[in-house]
Symmetry: C2
Subunit: 153 residues, 2 copies
DNA sequence: GAGCTTTATAAGGTATCCTGATAATTCGGA
DNA sequence: TCCGAATTATCAGGATACCTTATAAAGCTC
């Protein structure tokens, strides 16, 4: 009863998550743009987030890691290929498959992106407190653990 | 240096936020559907999240609270109106404006939605620990505070 | 009352996902 | 060894959730 009353005027969790994500993403893509990668958009994350930066990955792998359909990831892949971030090469071990690999430009974007994400997280820690951001991380990892575990290496 | 090494293999914050939001939203809309509101979609949140359930609100208010354009919120409003959740009535105090009000069906969806969100948050607390979810809430509120503060009552 | 602002809407476009269908290749068992 | 089933990628079309630009009507200020 008192719990309901307490919660009544606090913003719902789904809204907080939404705003926090939006905030982080906004800052990230602003900096990506400033770093010369203005054509990288959130939707490209399903590739950059799952690709093996050294050996490349197959479309099926990327789709599975991103929890998306192969068609969707394929579309994003074509877009990034068109923009010069990726290349598709035939898989020598499987005639059906292709290996999606970062070009040198793609590798650059990948590296810069990772660094910007780390930067942002560090800045959040400085701004809001190390402990608070560590707690945020821990909580998010706990809440998403079963999803992350279900993913392949 | 060691910090970079520690972070290296942990999932990036933006991904964690993405998955957590997706997880919460998925469960919420699943239950909304089970409760008979299967036609309520995430995009409708900009109205339900900002509307005054008693007296209704103007489009401009809803757009400002949702940080969206009036056109976008207007589109969502028309959709919800078509589905019987809302009605638009002329504002007696301003000939330009219309008041967007919940119908009885809309009020039902609103109430059920709020309860389901509270339910979910309570279940998360039971599953992952009261303290962890409280910490998650606190951290998210801290990180989003400046955005929430910028909003009107 | 003229000019600016505010309210809502119309029209059209972009981004990010989806489902269903298709073609090529590989694999596994009779 | 060959045939059917599974796997890989892709094509085509659609749904959703936003956006920008332009318009119309009403209010506000001087």
């Amino acid at each position: 009863m008192q719990d309901e009353f307490e919660n009544q005027m606090r913003p719902p969790m789904v809204r907080l998550l939404n705003i926090a994500l939006d905030e982080f993403a906004e800052q990230l893509y602003e900096r990506m743009s400033a770093a010369g990668f203005g054509d990288i958009r959130p939707g490209h994350g399903c590739v950059f987030g799952g690709i093996d930066p050294d050996n490349g990955s197959r479309l099926t792998e990327l789709a599975e890691r991103a929890c998306m359909t192969k068609q969707s990831v394929g579309e994003v892949t074509s877009d990034l290929e068109k923009r010069g971030y990726l290349e598709r090469i035939a898989d020598p071990d499987d005639g059906r498959a292709k290996i999606i690999r970062l070009t040198s430009h793609g590798r650059e974007a990948y590296t810069v992106g990772r660094r910007l994400i780390d930067d942002l997280e560090r800045e959040w820690a400085e701004r809001y407190g190390e402990e608070l951001i560590a707690a945020l991380r821990d909580a998010l990892e706990a809440v998403t653990a079963h999803r992350l575990d279900a993913l392949p290496a």
